[in-house]
């Protein structure tokens, strides 16, 4: 019994770290897409900076989370197997949206996966739907509005004050953008790095390997920090392309206004008691900076697809989490089957992504992320060799 429980705890820890990695590469673009798009930072420098700041942030904040789901499900019903099923749903959703180049909230995916797992294993009473509405649905609508309005107003002001930024003024905007983007990366590390530490710690406590109420162990902090940092460094170039180029062709003042709005919204929401998802805030800011300059420049079809992605994130991750939970109900064999299916799905997505690679070198050659290689003429594919991002 003890050994099987140790195996399950070990599997959950490794899956949690894998989720942390996907969290990093999914959210890399939130901080750095605009800086890469405007040429404020070279692509690889940008993700290296974001990765280091994410790790630093993860080490700064090790206050252990008291609940896995922030009250969305009844935590007393949650078993390590359910956490595993929930993480499976979150990882698969994060990878599929990455394949499509769509930003989507890693927290929503995680909560969705957990909700699905709890629904199957513990029934409808285990899920607090009122909390889901007030902490997920409403903030998902509010975040892009709050950040988007701020970014739009700020962009308009910036162009009013400096109508035609070039030379010195453009460089001031680019430096400002780098600084505020760094703040976003640091804040991301303090919040999201700590989420994985919380999950691992709670599972260790549940398995009897750690005393309840103690801080995360050092190896947990270290591994969680490194996993999110490595994920961030890997760049998530597909999402980077959508946010930096697909939504709006961003120029330096817009990039700075967008990053300022993102920073302000994240700090305000984390200190004034109304949690907003970094992803929704960052995407809203970028859209707002497009509206502030010229609403016609925003690719509304991309914005619409993004909004749709956000709407279905929770239910889709929940469906995968539920399926995984149903399989894990078979016991140890079910866990192994789920693990094999998870690894198979990850491999399939990675293979599909290879057909039309997006890398640091071609991230801004075009504005579309095609899953199937685009027909000739609609954009270069892979290794075009030009890494020079468009300048403002």
């Amino acid at each position: 019994m003890l050994t099987s429980s140790l195996v399950i705890v070990a599997i959950v820890v490794i899956t949690a770290l894998a989720f942390d990695f996907t969290n990093g590469f999914h959210d890399s673009a939130n901080a750095m897409a605009t800086s890469v798009a405007t040429g404020a930072l070279r692509p690889r420098v940008a993700v290296a900076l974001a990765a280091v700041l994410n790790v630093v942030g993860a080490f700064m904040s090790t206050e252990v989370a008291k609940t896995i789901s922030s009250g969305m499900v009844d935590d007393s019903l949650v078993t390590p197997a359910m956490v595993f099923a929930g993480l499976t749903g979150a990882i698969i959703w994060n990878l599929l949206t990455w394949l499509l180049g769509m930003p989507s909230s890693s927290s929503h995916a995680l909560f969705g996966g957990l909700i699905g797992a709890v629904l199957v294993s513990a029934g409808i009473a285990g899920v607090h739907f009122d909390v889901v509405v007030s902490k997920i649905l409403l903030p998902a609508l509010a975040a892009p509005l709050v950040a988007g309005v701020a970014a739009a107003v700020a962009t308009r002001l910036a162009y009013r004050i400096v109508p035609d930024p070039e030379g010195r003024s453009a460089s001031v905007f680019r430096h400002g953008q780098t600084i505020s983007a760094s703040m976003v990366a640091l804040a991301h590390g303090t919040s999201d790095g700590q989420k994985t530490m919380g999950i691992i710690t709670l599972v260790l406590v549940a398995g009897g390997y750690q005393l309840s109420g103690t801080s995360p162990q050092f190896w947990v902090v270290l591994l969680a920090g490194l996993a999110i940092g490595a994920g961030t460094y890997s760049g998530g170039w597909r999402i980077m392309r959508t946010l930096g180029k697909g939504l709006v062709d961003i120029k330096a003042p817009q990039g700075f206004a967008a990053e300022s709005a993102t920073t302000a919204a994240i700090l305000a929401s984390s200190h004034l008691g109304f949690g907003l998802s970094t992803t929704h805030v960052a995407s809203g800011s970028i859209m707002g900076s497009g509206v502030g300059r010229n609403a016609k420049e925003v690719r509304w079809s991309v914005a619409g697809r993004m909004a749709l992605t956000w709407l279905v994130t929770l239910p889709c991750a929940a469906a995968v989490g539920a399926a995984a939970a149903a399989i894990t109900l078979l016991g140890s064999a079910g866990i192994v089957i789920t693990l094999v299916l998870l690894i198979g799905t990850v491999a399939a997505v990675l293979v599909a992504a290879r057909r039309n690679k997006v890398t640091a070198d071609n991230v801004h050659d075009t504005h579309e992320v095609a899953v199937i290689a685009p027909a000739s003429g609609s954009g270069p594919v892979g290794g075009s060799g030009t890494a020079v991002p468009t300048h403002a």
Partner: protein
């Protein structure tokens, strides 16, 4: 169901104010530091430019203070 609309309004207001303040300061600094047609800037103008950028820097430092938990927990 409890939805804290007051907190949401506060977050929206503070976000707008902070973002507009920062972007206005940096834009003013950028404009002041932009060289004239002959490529030179008057010393007073340059000093003014760095002064407003300094104010923007203070805002950033306050943000950093908020981000780092060790400063306020």
């Amino acid at each position: 169901m409890h939805i804290d609309f007051a907190a949401l309004g506060l977050v929206a207001g503070v976000t707008l104010l902070a973002c507009v303040a920062l972007v206005t300061l940096v834009s003013l600094g950028a404009r002041l530091l932009d060289a004239g047609a002959n490529g030179s800037i008057a010393p007073a103008r340059r000093a003014g430019g760095y002064a407003v950028l300094g104010l923007a820097g203070l805002l950033i430092l306050f943000g950093l203070y908020l981000v780092i938990p060790a400063f306020h927990s």
